[in-house]
């Protein structure tokens, strides 16, 4: 029973509420009562509510990155293809979650839609980290254009998250998997077809 720092508890509570209800729909007071501290105390940990969101985004970014590594390690198997495909085990898991409400980063970017906003940039940065990770997996497969494959897979993933969120359609999971398989298969095919064009 180690005592977890107040700052971390604030990030945790904020993460949950912001993700479920949306940043602008959550009052600071709600988070304060969740954690059980006063407003003055809060402002000794964070400069502003925006600052708290920034911290929550980066924290979720780190978590997501470690989840990606974990799933590749635990379910990717020995082949690069299997490792690339295993990312979609993680996507499946998200899409299946009852409490799924879309991608946290995209949600944040939508509430701060101007590219010069720090929140927008934090969201984009964290998305990019995942894209780079997937690019490396694609490269390991020896495909011709790993960046292109990675970006297409990320596009599918974004589309899946949005679709699942706004249509509430459970079938999104199957469609996403089919699309991913198709794209990966095509990339692997053109690899063997044109060796170092």
């Amino acid at each position: 029973m180690v005592k977890v720092p107040t700052r971390d508890r604030l990030i945790e509570a904020a993460s949950n509420r912001f993700y479920r209800d949306g940043f602008r729909n959550v009052g600071i007071d709600q988070i304060l009562t969740d954690v059980g501290i006063s407003k003055t105390a809060f402002y000794k940990h964070f400069e502003s509510k925006d600052d708290l969101l920034l911290a929550a985004l980066d924290e979720k970014g780190d978590w997501l990155y470690s989840m990606c590594q974990k799933v590749v390690w635990e379910r990717g198997g020995p082949t690069p293809e299997g490792q690339l495909r295993s990312i979609f085990d993680l996507v499946d898991m998200f899409l299946d979650d009852e409490k799924f409400h879309g991608c946290f980063f995209v949600r944040a970017a939508m509430e701060f839609p101007l590219p010069q906003e720090p929140v927008f940039q934090a969201a984009a940065r964290n998305k990019m980290t995942v894209e780079v990770f997937i690019t490396q997996l694609a490269r390991n497969c020896g495909v011709e254009q790993p960046e292109d494959l990675s970006r297409k897979l990320c596009l599918i993933i974004e589309g899946a998250y949005v679709t699942r969120h706004v249509t509430q359609n459970r079938d999104t999971k199957r469609m996403t998997r089919e699309l991913a398989d198709m794209i990966i298969a095509e990339a692997l095919d053109s690899r063997s077809a044109e060796p170092t064009a």
Copy 2:
């Protein structure tokens, strides 16, 4: 020089500002000065700011639907395949627009993320209208599962919008077209391969 009703001018101004800056980042006063009326006058046209957003969403929904019909008519050509593909001419156009900031409906749904919210439902409804339209185009192509094809294409389109918005990547357009072509080709292939399985 017909005088356009104040209500319509409010919807127009709100549409622009809400889309560019986000609903919560726009004060009613900004819209009022855009249009040049007072606050009291505004509340004789709309019950609330939310109500104004609802009207703006439905207006954009009608506009989008008519744009879909127009592009199919003007650029779809004689074949059902060409008509289905022509939808992506419209998508290209959006992705090329300097002032593109993602899908208005998705943006709205992200700011009101709970499914019971009227704004969320309006966004979902307008998305669904497009999906149904594309399903009909797919059906005309004689593919086995037109709903499945339509949903996959919509998923790609959502993904493209989000990707273009958060990564600012101009290459999204090409990738989207490639993905769409691949999916459509696959659906058409399996049609000729298994005639009424």
